[in-house]
Assembly symmetry: C2
Homo-oligomer: 340 residues x 2
Amino acid sequence: MTTSLQGKRPTIRDIAKLAGVSHQTVSRALNNQARIAPETRKRILRIARDLGYHPNRAAKMLSMKRSFVLEVNLVNIEPATAFSLSAKIMSDTAKDLGYSVMFAEITPDEINKAIESAASRLVDGMALYAPRLNDDREIAEIGHRHNIPIVRRDYAPDSKLACVGYDIVYGATLAVQHLLDQGHRHVAEISGPLEYTAAAIRHNTWQKLLEDNGIEPGPSVAGDYSIKSGYEAMLELLKHKIPFTALVAGNDHMALGAIRALQEHGRSIPDDVSVVGFDDKQYAAYIDPPLTTIRQSFDRQDKIVTEYLIELIENTDTEIYHRVLQPELVVRNSVRNLNA
Amino acid sequence: MTTSLQGKRPTIRDIAKLAGVSHQTVSRALNNQARIAPETRKRILRIARDLGYHPNRAAKMLSMKRSFVLEVNLVNIEPATAFSLSAKIMSDTAKDLGYSVMFAEITPDEINKAIESAASRLVDGMALYAPRLNDDREIAEIGHRHNIPIVRRDYAPDSKLACVGYDIVYGATLAVQHLLDQGHRHVAEISGPLEYTAAAIRHNTWQKLLEDNGIEPGPSVAGDYSIKSGYEAMLELLKHKIPFTALVAGNDHMALGAIRALQEHGRSIPDDVSVVGFDDKQYAAYIDPPLTTIRQSFDRQDKIVTEYLIELIENTDTEIYHRVLQPELVVRNSVRNLNA
DNA sequence: CTTGATTGCGTTACCGTTCACGCCTCGCAA
DNA sequence: TTGCGAGGCGTGAACGGTAACGCAATCAAG
């Protein structure tokens, strides 16, 4: 007569039977709800522990119409850039607040489908890493329709969504101004792909800041953010035969590639050419010469994205705004002071 | 009388009502099952599309007792090592086969809890990245009890679980033998943390191979796989004043740090000291000098892990074995040939 | 003309939670 | 005594799918 639970996971009704109460009372006990006698709660919790009970999340999801899962979508990221995002930080931050995180990589035309899919999985909120995406009105609309808060993990000036990203104009200004301050007047550029919002803004800032100082902008070539593309872009720049004493690279990867190309062509860094990168990657301090760069902590950014997203989920009237972080100049030895 | 579906997601019963059939027929149509008239199926699919229907995954999970979700657990990874794992590859591979992937980072004592938790979320399978874990018998047992296949994303010789990893002894042999072939007789080492199974095996291989050749192993210091620790380990080695002409580093990160330290102390690479790394990180070809290293493609490894895991899930009688991948020596310019 | 298999579809139960109610009891104030 | 609020708990439905089974109609074979 003993309905042995062999192989099967125990349910709240199994606990209820053993405790001599209804399944609802068990539910109350397990969820720390009020209106239950302290001893009853204790007894139920003990039985639950003894049975090795763990609630079935699917049932919980179905009943509560939510999943406590966040989803991160990487949209059309260059392989070299992918997972500058720190999945670990996001997972940890989310876990502390009771959520799990899922990651997916998609193409721009799949964003809508991804939101639909997330809705069908009762995903509570979504982070979007889409550095090429300019017009996100439709996405904001769909997210709103499905009641899924969305936070962008980059900075797009015209975004209708919540954003967390670094001040791009300020970062680019830091880089170029530093070179100007050190007396450079011929400043070349290896930009990121200009479809990237950030790359385009940096390019424009580079150009404008030089022109505002009465200086003709040096040659500029676009890379794809990979080390290799930086190497090749530099070969291209050298072919132009337009002289330059300094280079702004779109990220540290390309700066490294460019330095390699310069060294292979007998140019010394920083004596012949000064170089500034972006991001302050881990290796930046250890290459030869140690790289002067604009630090943008992705860890910090990803932590804030996660916290903000959860805030939006749990507090419906949290306002949507653009959270702008400040990058900082890290001076090492890849820039020569021409004033000295 | 029209029960308008405003705001609510349509269900199969809504579709059924519109199509004039039962919800079961709709289910059959949506799941491509047999025993349904072609026109009925078409009509139902059209209505589903028009309604923007997407199945509720929670309901599906509850009913099917599974989730089509894989979980990847990173166990106690040094920050520097974390996400050498390529989440993108795993996600993509899984997606092609109808699964999603979740990532989490945990400590060793949380592994059991993580499996329990995965079971309660009806997770179909788990990948474990636990390079420090030697005895995994208990974990294998718990996984088996909860009917969750587990694949380790590293190579542990005594593992009871399915494993996918690179041949550590062979990799270390490649590195040391290469140095011996080039005439080196004083070979130092910067190892990874010796609690790491792989680090310990490499260390032993380094030692044994040298002794087998009648050579006294050079000095050895352990780092933590970060660039910085490589730098500091080299300072330590230099302090010992034991001369060496070659260095084996536990990974490219530490090789880079070590090179930096050597250069700062006026040693030229490879003229004074030759260096071999491990992994063939993206930047390895671009630092100065380009680094000779042992290539281990994590992308390939992660793809295989994912495919193997799904195979284990879908085919209950798939056998459990250790899948050993072969690393390869990539020769660049950081090793000097003393025979020439 | 019966038999039996097959096709096409419906009915009902079930998965394991939470939620909306409602019922009893007890204590306390009117 | 009555009324009433609150504490403690139970009952039944709901969530949205899938699974098991049943049943009528059709059709080919005997």
